[in-house]
């Protein structure tokens, strides 16, 4: 870009009596010019606050929705990933089996290659735990007899985590005559995974559509601005302005709109997270979870700002390119 400006300067210098300038001076002038144009464009946005604010709010909402979805998915994923490593098989032992037998069964299972760990929870332990957490302590006491069986909790080996291997493991466990029931806790995790995958696809589609909305909103705003400044554009062309020169202020306008839109979307997200954080931490406390709502990281914030700026710039580019074609001096 700089090189091109330098060349343009050399071109005019040779032919129209312009002073020859070094590449460093040309770069300085180029930067100066861009700073000036970008500030002018920003000034133009602020000079009509009402309509600009409306446009920027629309952009902010359109950007906040996909960013919010993303945040939701990141949170959902962090929950499901926390559970992933804990894929468990619960082995309910038949009621007539002694505790020592259950112990030795756990020992045997611990020897297997496809099992990382097998832990026995005796019916007494289970009852104690149940009384502590469920709030049914009184009801259980009224029951008198302990209704709970021995349970062996099995953590499959990492190599056995594939659906096929797990299925094989389950079948062999169920075949044991001491076992009443082998239940895989993974199923609902897998379902959650599936749901998140669908939600992620959906979010991608929605994000693309809303991105397009941002593009069109900025494009339309810039299109109107180009039309309003038609006379100015034609005069600039008559005195030798290149398309690049004419595009520049509009591209900066688009950039600013996108950037300001993403700032608004950040504010909206911040507000939404603020409203959700309390209830979410209450809920997670009910699940004995340390889960806290993930917020947008600095990296995500930078990406959101850059995306907004890029979409605004692109929208402006499309609008100006399409408008300028029909704007030749007459």
């Amino acid at each position: 870009m700089t090189r091109r400006v330098g060349r343009a300067n050399a071109h005019t210098a040779k032919q129209a009596g312009m002073p020859r300038i070094g590449p460093l001076a040309a770069l300085h002038i180029w930067l100066q010019r861009h700073a000036q144009v970008s500030l002018e464009s920003l000034g133009r946005i602020f000079s009509k606050p009402v309509s600009s604010l409306l446009t920027i709010s629309v952009l902010g909402i359109a950007l906040a929705l996909p960013a919010g979805l993303y945040l939701f998915l990141v949170n959902a994923q962090s929950i499901s990933e926390g559970l992933d490593g804990e894929a468990r098989i619960s082995l309910f032992i038949k009621e007539n089996i002694e505790e020592t037998k259950a112990h030795s069964l756990a020992e045997t299972l611990n020897q297997r290659n496809d099992i990382a760990q097998a832990t026995l929870i005796t019916r007494e332990q289970a009852l104690a735990e149940f009384q502590q957490y469920s709030g049914y302590a009184e009801a259980l006491e009224a029951l008198g007899d302990n209704p709970l069986p021995h349970v062996i909790v099995i953590r499959p080996d990492a190599s056995a985590m594939q659906p096929d291997a797990i299925e094989t493991l389950l079948r062999s466990l169920r075949a044991d005559p001491q076992v009443e029931l082998a239940q895989l806790d993974l199923q609902w995790v897998q379902r959650l995974h599936g749901m998140i995958l669908i939600a992620r696809r959906g979010a991608l589609v929605i994000s693309a559509l809303l991105g397009l909305a941002v593009l069109l909103t900025v494009g339309n705003t810039i299109r109107l601005e180009v039309q309003n400044r038609r006379e100015e554009i034609i005069i600039a062309k008559l005195v030798g302005a290149t398309d690049g020169f004419i595009r520049r202020p509009f591209l900066y306008s688009g950039l600013w709109y996108g950037l300001l839109g993403s700032v608004v979307s950040l504010l909206l997200l911040w507000l939404a997270i603020g409203l959700l954080a309390g209830p979410v931490s209450d809920l997670s406390r009910l699940y004995q979870s340390e889960f806290t709502l993930l917020r947008l990281s600095l990296h995500d914030t930078a990406i959101l700002l850059a995306t907004g700026a890029f979409l605004g710039w692109t929208g402006a580019w499309v609008a100006v390119a399409q408008q300028l074609r029909g704007m030749e001096p007459r």
Partner: protein
């Protein structure tokens, strides 16, 4: 500096605005272009400004064969020709200074150089004290002088004017013509379209007369008889 060789301009509706037009304006020459309205004066100037392209023949300006100038190169050729319009074509919402500075900003000059040159140009047209005004606050003659300052601010070798005195009274017209002559004295090539025959004849410059798109008379410069 300006060279027309058997130039034809036929519009899409079949109207032939210029037919077989040939003339040459040397570097440093000053000439008037006359003819009643519809004779093709504006079309001729529009060919020089690359607003139109000729249908046949060849137009060359400041060493560029305009037939070979691509769309992308048009701006760079236009920077070497200063245009003055009858309706001034100034930016109404910009100051006089910003209007005159436009060609320099486009050419990519630095702040300080722009300030220096704009003031020099405004000084030449006698508007140095009005640089902060907007064009609407100026009289017609002053607006035209702003347009002239803008046309010469980047020191183009060629200046072309379309009816620059069309809306001005004789006194102001005379001032504008004096201004053009001063530019001519420092080597600028000028082509001025005007139907003010009285004003033209008094100046004694070369006169190209168009009639229905043809060059019907090419009067060489006369010895001046200024009152």
């Amino acid at each position: 500096m300006i060279h027309f060789q058997q130039v034809c301009k036929r519009f899409e509706n079949g109207h032939e605005a210029l037919s077989d037009l040939s003339f040459r304006l040397e570097s440093g020459e000053m000439a008037f272009l006359t003819g009643h309205s519809g004779a093709g004066k504006s079309t001729l100037l529009r060919l020089i400004a690359l607003i139109e392209r000729c249908s046949r023949g060849m137009v060359s300006v400041a060493g560029h064969n305009l037939n070979r100038v691509s769309r992308r190169q048009i701006p760079y050729v236009r920077r070497q020709v200063g245009f003055i319009f009858q309706d001034h074509r100034l930016l109404a919402d910009r100051t006089v200074f910003d209007n005159v500075a436009l060609p320099l900003v486009i050419a990519g000059l630095g702040h300080r150089e722009i300030g220096r040159r704009v003031r020099a140009a405004l000084d030449k047209v006698g508007l140095l004290d009005k640089e902060r005004r907007c064009p609407v606050m100026l009289s017609g003659g002053e607006q035209q002088r702003v347009g002239i300052a803008r046309a010469v601010v980047n020191r183009p070798p060629v200046v072309v004017a379309d009816e620059p005195t069309g809306n001005l009274d004789p006194e102001l017209s005379r001032e504008i013509m004096d201004l053009f002559e001063r530019f001519n004295q420092v080597g600028v090539t000028l082509l001025i379209a005007s139907h003010d025959l009285e004003l033209i004849s008094r100046r004694g410059h070369r006169v190209l007369c168009l009639d229905r798109g043809r060059l019907v008379r090419d009067t060489p410069p006369q010895t001046r008889d200024r009152q």
